[in-house]
Symmetry: C2
Subunit: 432 residues, 2 copies
């Protein structure tokens, strides 16, 4: 797809799914995006936004007129519209809201009153609810006659009491198979899990995963039915959540590969800066032993091995602990068992590598004592790595700090400092 052929591409583009169009916008070069968006402009499908990365959303939004945008947004389901509008600045929000049909506008504005990343923003308002005293027959008649006011396709009928509080749900297939005289109250599933509108989306994802839910009604603080969350809405949240852990552990604020160079550079700078401070601290430890190194230069050659093995063993433990915390497999109940276990694993691997590295170093520099020194330092550092790889994320979690964000820096500081100090300190004691 190049500049010359973009106009004849119009025909092919018309048949594509919004997700594929979003991919196309993302993967063609920046200079072709303008013409491509012009091609899509006459009947811009706002669903494309749902599949675009954040930075490209902004690029596309800037190219569309507020009216075109409002027309496109009006076609979206309420949860998708909110998802799009919530990230805009106040001025842009106002412009789009003003151009929306009053009804859509009211729904979107109500949605925006819920906290960001809450169930209230995630839920769809398109649902079917009926009173608990209705019969199957009355429900069927209602569904047939009110078809226009109800969502096009739906899977569950929610049953509410006179205060609109949820008392249960009945899948459509079950309503259909019962005799008309059966009361809904007799066939409903009571054991459904409701979600408060202000619940954080990570908590929602946990509930869906924990109980294998397909859908869950969302209620206000008085238990009144507001909307419904289905598992497909939760898939994005689960994706984000897992990605968050991965990125934060590696010190990347976001993976948006379409972001501009300078933005990306700036966002990564701060993590590298913190790491620089850590590295300087480790250098400070080394400089305490300058004279020792000057006498035995082999120490300078070998010292990165101790630090690097500690860092790697610690990262293994840390990753497991951070993930287990996120999946709620690691809790107060088993914390001490896990810490003890990881410290033990560190010590065993430390002992194994002490032998290997000790022999290699002893032969390399023809000095048995240097082998013994690096061996002991290895055991100490891998024990500390196992201990801190669990204690640091547990400690941060208890302080309500996201362990994925800060753990790596703390851990590598510890393994570098302990690694250099144990090795060089022992060398100064034993070899000098």
């Amino acid at each position: 797809l190049d500049q010359g052929r973009i106009s004849e591409a119009g025909g092919k583009i018309a048949g594509l799914h919004a997700a594929d169009l979003a991919d196309l916008i993302e993967q063609i070069g920046p200079d072709l995006r303008g013409p491509l968006i012009d091609l899509l402009r006459p009947s811009f499908d706002a669903e494309i936004f749902a599949y675009l990365s954040q930075s490209l959303r902004e690029v596309v939004l800037d190219q569309l007129e507020p009216k075109e945008l409002a027309a496109a947004v009006a076609e979206l389901e309420s949860d998708d519209a909110i998802d799009l509008i919530e990230d805009l600045d106040a001025h842009q929000q106002r412009e789009i809201l003003d151009n929306l049909p009053p009804e859509t506008r009211a729904v979107v504005e109500e949605g925006l009153t819920f906290p960001e990343d809450s169930a209230g923003r995630l839920m769809s308002r398109d649902l079917v609810s009926v009173p608990q005293f209705w019969t199957v027959g009355k429900t069927l008649d209602y569904l047939r006659t009110e078809a226009d006011a109800l969502p096009e396709d739906f899977y569950d009928v929610f049953i509410v009491d006179s205060m609109r509080r949820v008392v249960g749900a009945v899948p459509v297939s079950r309503v259909m198979r019962q005799k008309r005289s059966v009361r809904l109250a007799d066939i409903l599933t009571e054991d459904i899990r409701t979600v408060q509108a202000i619940t954080d989306q990570e908590e929602v994802a946990f509930l869906f995963r924990q109980y294998g839910l397909v859908s869950a009604p969302v209620v206000d603080s008085a238990g009144r039915l507001l909307g419904v969350i289905t598992v497909d809405d939760v898939v994005d949240v689960i994706d984000e959540e897992a990605e968050d852990d991965l990125l934060k552990l590696s010190g990347v604020p976001d993976t948006d590969i379409y972001r501009a160079v300078l933005d990306t550079t700036r966002s990564r700078f701060s993590w590298l800066f913190v790491n620089l401070l850590t590295a300087i601290l480790a250098s400070g430890v080394i400089s305490m032993f300058e004279t020792t190194i000057q006498h035995i230069v082999a120490l300078a050659v070998l010292m990165p091995i101790v630090a690097s093995m500690g860092g790697n063993a610690g990262t293994q433990t840390l990753t497991v602990a951070v993930r287990a915390l996120a999946m709620r497999e690691l809790s107060e109940a088993n914390a001490m068992r896990v810490v003890a276990k990881e410290a033990l694993i560190g010590t065993i691997n430390g002992a194994l590598f002490a032998v290997i590295v000790g022999v290699v170093a002893g032969l390399w520099f023809e000095d048995r004592l240097i082998g013994i020194v690096i061996g002991i330092a290895m055991i100490v550092n891998l024990f500390i790595a196992g201990l801190c790889g669990t204690l640091i994320p547990l400690g941060l979690a208890r302080l309500k700090i996201d362990p994925a964000v800060a753990s790596t820096v703390f851990l590598t500081t510890v393994t570098d400092v302990v690694g250099f100090f144990a090795f060089l300190g022992l060398a100064a004691l034993i070899l000098m």
Copy 2:
């Protein structure tokens, strides 16, 4: 919950969801698991297995008699039963299969013929399909009269031709609202995405995510309908997939925090061993400059800074690239743009840190030249880190090797070797 109170806990346990029981089994100490399982034994809910980690599944399986197990498995839906049985060894599989009712057994055995991690293993066979020439009325009668042979709750009616090939789907809510005389062929949704039974589950997860699917029919190579996958089955796959990237990048074969100490130690050993070889290689580079270090011991103090900054900047880039490859945001189409961008980002950050570190090092050791040397080495290493952070995973992906597994080792080898070589080499050239 301790030894003494476990018997009186029976009453409380009875009301718990299988997922919560699984959590309980996981989080109590190993010595209490036996009594707890005995408590659950009389009516063991096989759904608990679906929520247990792999290593604890085996522990629990070993405690149950084959007959108890078969009775529990017979209660499961076919996809859950397959998920449980597929991980057992051949002998255990046979024992359970022999004790299953013939019908369940046939379904499970058929499921096991599909490759591991394929759509065929993921799908459920509980679905409703009707011929395309039927009317709404005939369909409704069929659903009511054949209720016993059909799944209890279902959301879509699949429409098949005379060869049982899928031609479309109609949500139950839509069937119900139409007049009896309407033909299904006129109201079906044709634009549904079917999945081949042998398709890998990661590909399935990609389809669901890409197109926001709620369910998809699974077909054989001739297009005949075999089963259905719903989005809740895919949630686990998405979880696994994201977790896989995280773990592999950190060199952890699995996160199972309930695994025994020696198993875990062994599984982590090999990654650490590969890292040891890398570290020794880096030490080899340092030893080339032993005389230089002996003359200017400041080099030993400062050299870990260059290597560590390169490793961290490289890891940032690598994580973004591996994740983008997994999410299919990085492809042949934009590979070179992303590589160039990351190399540029590395160079810019390299220049910024060159100034900071150069000034710090120059002041610390009262030698401007040492500041200049470390500055240049920093730019070189962060440029290489950006370049290799993208080229390594791209190269592995092209060789059909999972980039998450091997990238980190290659990358840190490069940033360590380049970091030490650039810094010490320049120092030997300029300072000696």
